[in-house]
Every structure is written in C-alpha cells, then in structure tokens.
Amino acid sequence: MKLSEIRDVLEGSVLVGEDKLDVEVTGGAASDLMSDLLRNPKEGALLLTGLTSIQVIRTSVIAGIGAVVFVRGKHPDPDMVAQARGHGLPLLSTPLNMYSSCGRLYNKGLKSIR
C-alpha cells in the first residue's frame, strides 16, 4: 500500500516524506513496545504507534521500518522530525486511535508483517 493511500484511509497528514508518497510499505505493525520491533523486524513495514519519544525514530531506523504513523493525533517534537528527515524516514499523523487505524488499513488490504 502506498503512503498516499495510507494518509487518505487514516484521514491523516504527512509530517515528513511528502516526496515519498508513492513508496509502498510491505506490511503493518502496531506497537508501543519498541522491543517488539527489534525482535521481528521487517524491512519497509509501516509502524503505527502512540509513543512519541526519540527512540521511536532510532528504533525504526535500526529495524528498517519504512514509515511511521502516530495515532490519536499525537505529534513528534521538532527534534524527532529533524532526525526522521535526516534518515529519510516518512512520518504521518492520524486523529484516529490505534484500533480504528489498524482496522481501516487491514480492511483495505494491508496485512500484518507476521
């Protein structure tokens, strides 16, 4: 699924990566536990999270995450945005909660990474 479609399905906005809207993600993962992502990394996957710490960016870079969606209208701070930009990691934000976000994406065909 392309980032542009994810943005539309989640009624969200793109915070970093306006130039990467045609990039396809390879599957979806939802977690506030960064350890989970390090345990089962999948190159190019979409991460949905409610966590907004700088470790979300670093964990995503290490685990090869393709793009991050912050749920419940959460916004990363400017330092996180700058680091994501530096690593070419797209960031999106959606007003929807975690459950609805996952449900909508799953319905549209974005499967779990496992």
Binding site: S31, D32, L33, M34, S35, D36, L38, R39, P41, E43, L51, S53, I54, Q55, V56, R58, T59, V61, I62, A63, G64
Partner: protein
C-alpha cells in the same frame, strides 16, 4: 573487506542520545557495503546492548571492529553488573524501571534478542564488576 575500528561513548541515563552509537554503526556497515541481513542483525545487537547500558549500566563504550571475515561489536560498562546471567537471558525477565517501560523498552527481550541475532555471543558480568558483551557476525565470502 576493509579492516576498521570505531568507538562510541555511552552515557548512563542519557535517553536523548541513547542509540546514536548503534545508528552510526549501522551507517558505517551500510557504507562498507555489507548485505542488508548482516547489517540488520549487527545493528539490532548494537542498539539493544547500547539501550541496556543506558538503562541499567553505568557509563560505557560501544566498539565496532571489522576484521577480515568478522564484524565484532563489543559493549562494556562500569555499571552494577548482572547478578544472575542465566536469569537475565530469559525472555521476559527484566529489572527495568517503569520509566523505561513507558519509553517502549524494558520488556526483558534485549539480551535474548542479542543472543538470537549474533553468530557468536559472549557475556561477562558480576555484581559490582560491570558488564562486557562481545557479539560477532560472520561475513560470508560474497559479503553476506
């Protein structure tokens, strides 16, 4: 493959910078041209062990050595050490504070995950002695 050695400082409790050494390690390994799988495994081990030092250890260092057919990552700290290593290697066992759990870590998955991803893994620790971790990754002849 070129031989090289790099070293990064790790500061205890510095969550803002935690993981920068691992990120640098990842970008060094990528730029040398290693295959994605070995880069991912080595980076995950570097990151997990760096986070462990920040959360549990004292100050420490992360060093990367590329030596012929091996990528070697060594992490040492002068923290309190691990009392029971077998227990620490058990999935789900953790002594992390609520603060770190809220940041998405401390689920007791770090050391088991390091063991899983490294081709060779050594740990030396004891109460009051700090902790030393050596993780090695074998580079196959075609760079994988």
């Amino acid at each position: 493959m070129p031989n090289l050695k790099k070293k990064y400082e790790i500061k205890a409790k510095d969550f803002i910078r935690a993981g920068e050494g691992a990120i640098q390690t990842q970008s060094t390994l990528k730029s040398i041209g290693f295959e994605p799988d070995i880069v991912r495994r080595a980076s995950i081990c570097a990151y997990e062990s760096e986070m462990n030092v920040v959360m549990h250890g004292g100050d420490g260092t992360l060093s990367l050595t590329v030596d012929g057919t091996w990528i070697i990552i060594e992490v040492r700290d002068n923290g309190p050490g691990i009392e029971d290593i077998d227990l620490a290697l058990k999935e789900g066992y953790s002594t992390a504070s609520t603060e770190y759990r809220e940041m998405g870590f401390g689920a007791g998955m770090g050391l088991p995950n390091i063991k899983k991803n490294a081709d060779s893994f050594e740990i030396h620790s004891g109460e009051g002695k700090g902790t030393y971790l050596k993780m090695a990754f074998r580079v196959s002849e075609n760079g994988e």
